[in-house]
């Protein structure tokens, strides 16, 4: 992270709650965040089999309002924002002016002419500057609400049944990507049926001042607190690309399997994004040795790419990785990954590794 060592780490409204829950805290994108509580495997398994809760308050929220809000969002993103209806959410990309992504984002439609966007924590300042730069020609007002909101991701197959008794909203009627105001434990929140774990779940937007109470109540009804460690193993198993690893300012976003995020429209950098990528993101499975970001990926002794994310999969019990490889080698079935000077065989497997 490009964080000056003298700059103090930012804290979410749940910092004290994490310490109470026994979290090990680590610097992450300029924030002091919980990496784990009981342990990555236990937290990972809780989300896959029951339900867990993550503090994702470090992520940024920008409100986009005005008669030109839709036209502006259409200009700065690749997906078709006009498909959104009030109460719906959409995964989207912020392309750069010369290829690559400024960020990947979620857009929540509040009302006609009003949207809430959620951006990655480490990109808040960069995204804000980028959006300001492109807002000038549109009738639009941007507001950085990152400090106003705490964001809790409640994820896992038991999420709906655990939350239902504590809200008056019929959650079963709210399908994937629904976004709606609700009462939760008596507090006014926004709920979104979205998440980043490959499981069913809800993201809870709550006022920062009420976040700690909501968090405590979520733990009291049986949710397992889960940290950044489990969040990463879960998203990797689900084949979700992560900014800074599978996406960046310089990686062609169509290297990933997410070409559906680019729709037929004119937008920032559209001429670059439509050029064919020279690399392809693939999934790899190894027998024993975990492989990490940056490790060389080879075919026949020749380096053809590198690992972008790797871990030992708690669900499958063997190492998995995503890797960017030269497009002409992406069809190979067997690769080698160099680990500390020694090559280890890796089998290409389809992404995602895990599908619910």
């Amino acid at each position: 992270m490009n964080q000056s060592p003298t700059e103090p780490l930012k804290r979410t409204p749940l910092h004290a709650a994490h310490l109470r829950a026994g979290a090990r805290m680590v610097p992450f994108g300029g924030w002091d965040m919980p990496v784990q509580y009981a342990g990555v495997k236990a937290e990972h398994d809780a989300v896959r089999n029951a339900a867990g809760v993550f503090d994702v308050s470090h992520m940024g929220e920008f409100r986009v309002q005005g008669a030109g809000a839709l036209a502006f969002l259409q200009h700065v993103t690749t997906n078709d924002v006009s498909k959104l209806k009030p109460g719906r959410a959409q995964y989207n990309w912020l392309p750069g002016v010369s290829g690559g992504l400024v960020d990947d984002i979620y857009i929540y439609m509040v009302a006609p002419d009003e949207y809430l966007t959620v951006v990655n924590a480490s990109n808040i300042a960069k995204d804000w500057a980028h959006l300001q730069q492109h807002a000038g020609e549109f009738d639009v007002t941007l507001t950085d609400e990152s400090d106003r909101w705490a964001l809790l991701a409640v994820q896992g197959p038991q999420t709906e049944s655990l939350l239902q008794p504590h809200t008056g909203t019929d959650l079963s009627a709210k399908k994937k990507n629904a976004f709606f105001p609700a009462k939760l434990f008596g507090f006014d929140v926004m709920l979104a049926r979205t998440g980043y774990t490959g499981e069913d779940g809800f993201e809870v937007f709550t006022d920062a001042s009420e976040a700690e109470t909501v968090w405590d109540k979520l733990l009291a009804i049986g949710l397992t607190p889960a940290g950044l460690g489990a969040r990463d193993t879960l998203r990797l198993e689900a084949g979700f690309p992560l900014y800074g690893h599978e996406f960046s300012d310089t990686i062609h976003p169509l290297s990933s399997t997410y070409s559906w995020v680019v729709k037929d429209k004119t937008h920032v950098g559209h001429e670059h994004i439509r050029m064919a990528p020279t690399q392809t993101l693939i999934g790899l499975k190894l027998e024993r040795v975990p492989v990490r970001e940056g490790y060389p990926v080879k075919v026949g002794g020749e380096v053809v790419g590198h690992v972008t994310s790797g871990t030992s999969s708690p669900t499958f019990g063997h190492p998995i990785a995503m890797a960017l490889v030269n497009a002409e080698h992406a069809g190979a079935d067997i690769f080698d990954v160099e680990v500390r000077g020694k090559d280890h065989p890796a089998t290409r497997v389809a992404l995602p590794f895990y599908k619910r």
Partner: protein
């Protein structure tokens, strides 16, 4: 609370050394690492200097280098770790030992009290 047996000596890099040359990582270290999923051990017969990188312990999240707490020759490695690397977490001073050295010279090591003081 993690344990720090008084009969062992400790390196600042979190390895322990027993009087018979057995080496492992401390309870404090295994807790910091989290779930251990793979251990790469040195070859028997290798001659090492104190402070040399000699093994790797991988957790779900990261790979961590292990340093020789003493100079000497590797005379045994813990083969049980290839099938059950989690022994490093569950029994860091017993079943989770890493390797044994025929010690020719110790590195800069601490007693249990000094190690605990350094990691509080």
């Amino acid at each position: 609370m993690t344990t720090t047996p008084t009969e062992l000596k400790y390196a600042a890099s979190h390895e322990w050394l027993a009087a018979d040359g057995t080496v492992g990582i401390t309870d404090f270290a295994q807790e910091q690492l989290g779930d251990v999923v793979y251990v790469e051990l040195p070859e028997v017969g290798r001659v090492v200097e104190a402070g040399e990188t000699i093994a790797v312990v991988e957790s779900v999240k990261t790979a961590s280098d292990i340093y020789a707490p003493a100079s000497g020759t590797i005379v045994a490695v813990n083969d049980a770790l290839s099938g059950t690397p989690e022994l490093v977490n569950s029994a860091p001073y017993e079943g989770g030992w890493l390797f044994k050295l025929d010690v020719t010279g110790e590195g800069d090591l601490m007693d249990a009290a000094a190690y605990e003081a350094a990691n509080n």
